[in-house]
């Protein structure tokens, strides 16, 4: 027979444990459900206008006669971040790729879609990295600590956007000019786009809007070709008054492969 004293102790502690557990659970669920949107805490993202990209690329193809030309934005990325250039595609790291896609239907036209690291909110690459070399930075940029990367390429398998590149060859062999302000990568690490994080950090310190190298090149190219606006827009998603914040909140900006739940911060319009 259980004594009254013992019964009260057990019943009381059980009730307490249930109450404590449920309140904690509720808190955790609430924080997971709502994304913080404090404009002063930036969350960097990008918008790509596929129509503009297709028009620019079609003009470029007509000008050069090359069926797969490298546009000014990709070249600017290579120059800015010392991305090496190798003739064989399987060894050539590219942070900013142009994909030529079209639907299966007869008579459909080709679209040129830029593909870069999508900087997912729930990044699969960061989840699988065994050394914590890849991680989601506070401002939403997916960074690789090249010092910690062991080159296991788990992240390349995990990435649903094929945005990651492995340095199979010594990058110095594929470079003709080096930007002194950024580093190169070593032989045997994985590399990818980081939204020109050095530019972002500098711009935040100076209090201006950051422009990655590809966005800057796109603006120049759009001006040269006489387009109304540039195809790439970079900015703070959390700020509802920024250009990118307005477009995401008011138009049908799409994410790539949304069914996977990775929640990319690179959005596509007119795709």
């Amino acid at each position: 027979m259980i004594s009254r004293r013992r019964f009260l102790i057990i019943a009381g502690s059980a009730t307490g444990a249930v109450l404590l557990g449920s309140s904690q659970l509720e808190k955790a669920l609430a924080s997971a459900r709502s994304e913080s949107s404090d404009p002063s805490k930036p969350l960097w993202g990008m918008i790509v206008d596929v129509d503009q990209c297709t028009e620019c690329m079609n003009q470029l193809v007509a000008e050069t006669g090359n069926p797969d030309p490298k546009p000014e934005c990709a070249l600017a990325c290579d120059r800015e971040n010392n991305v090496p250039e190798f003739r064989e595609k399987k060894w050539d790291p590219q942070w900013f790729k142009m994909l030529k896609v079209r639907s299966n239907l007869e008579g459909s036209e080709y679209l040129w879609v830029p593909l870069l690291c999508n900087h997912c909110r729930h990044a699969p690459c960061a989840q699988v990295c065994p050394t914590k070399a890849t991680f989601v930075r506070e401002d939403g940029i997916i960074m690789i600590d090249y010092h910690r990367c062991i080159g296991c390429r788990y992240c390349m398998i995990a990435c649903p956007y094929n945005a990651r590149n492995f340095n199979f060859k010594e990058p110095l062999d594929g470079l003709t000019e080096i930007n002194p302000e950024t580093d190169r990568r070593g032989h045997g690490v994985v590399e990818k786009c980081h939204f020109c994080v050095h530019r972002v950090d500098r711009a935040v310190k100076e209090g201006v809007n950051p422009t990655p190298a590809c966005v800057e090149a796109c603006q120049k190219e759009a001006e040269k070709r006489g387009f109304e606006k540039s195809a790439l827009i970079f900015g703070n998603i959390n700020d509802p008054n920024s250009e990118i914040g307005k477009i995401i909140r008011t138009s049908k900006a799409k994410q790539l492969r949304p069914s996977l739940g990775t929640e990319p911060k690179v959005y596509y319009v007119n795709l």
Binding site: E181, D183, V204
Partner: protein, 133 residues
């Protein structure tokens, strides 16, 4: 103690083997005890006190590298010796004053027998000169 003679002889032989690398290096031709002469950097002062930097620069670099990569505002480092002066966490910043890696970094590192792997990826003035001619 039994067999004192042999024990002492063996101790001396053991110490001799232990110190053989030192003895070999000291007696090698071209051995000098002087500290290596470093290239005089440009600019007024280093980002921290130069006497502090000499033994501690590697710890500072490690700290700065982690902050620069992991912390959104961590790219900019404020000097503790010279308050108000802000430096960017890149090796490019170092080479603005220390214009040569061979005459500055390597001289000391070779003397101490250390080979840091910074330069597999970070650009040195020598590499830049070779590629950006």
């Amino acid at each position: 103690m039994y067999s004192t003679k042999w024990v002492i002889l063996l101790i001396i032989a053991f110490l001799g083997i232990c110190f053989s690398p030192l003895i070999y290096n000291v007696s090698a031709p071209g051995f000098e005890l002087e500290m290596p002469e470093l290239d005089e950097p440009e600019g007024d002062h280093c980002i921290e006190d130069a006497d502090w930097m000499e033994p501690n620069h590697m710890d500072l670099l490690l700290e700065m590298r982690t902050q620069t990569i992991r912390d959104p505002g961590g790219r900019f480092y404020e000097s503790k010796t010279y308050p108000g002066e802000v430096y960017e966490g890149t090796t490019y910043q170092c080479f603005e004053c220390h214009t040569s890696k061979t005459d500055f970094c390597d001289t000391c590192h070779e003397y101490n027998g250390v080979s840091p792997y910074c330069w597999h990826c970070h650009n040195t003035p020598e590499v830049l000169e070779e590629y950006n001619r």
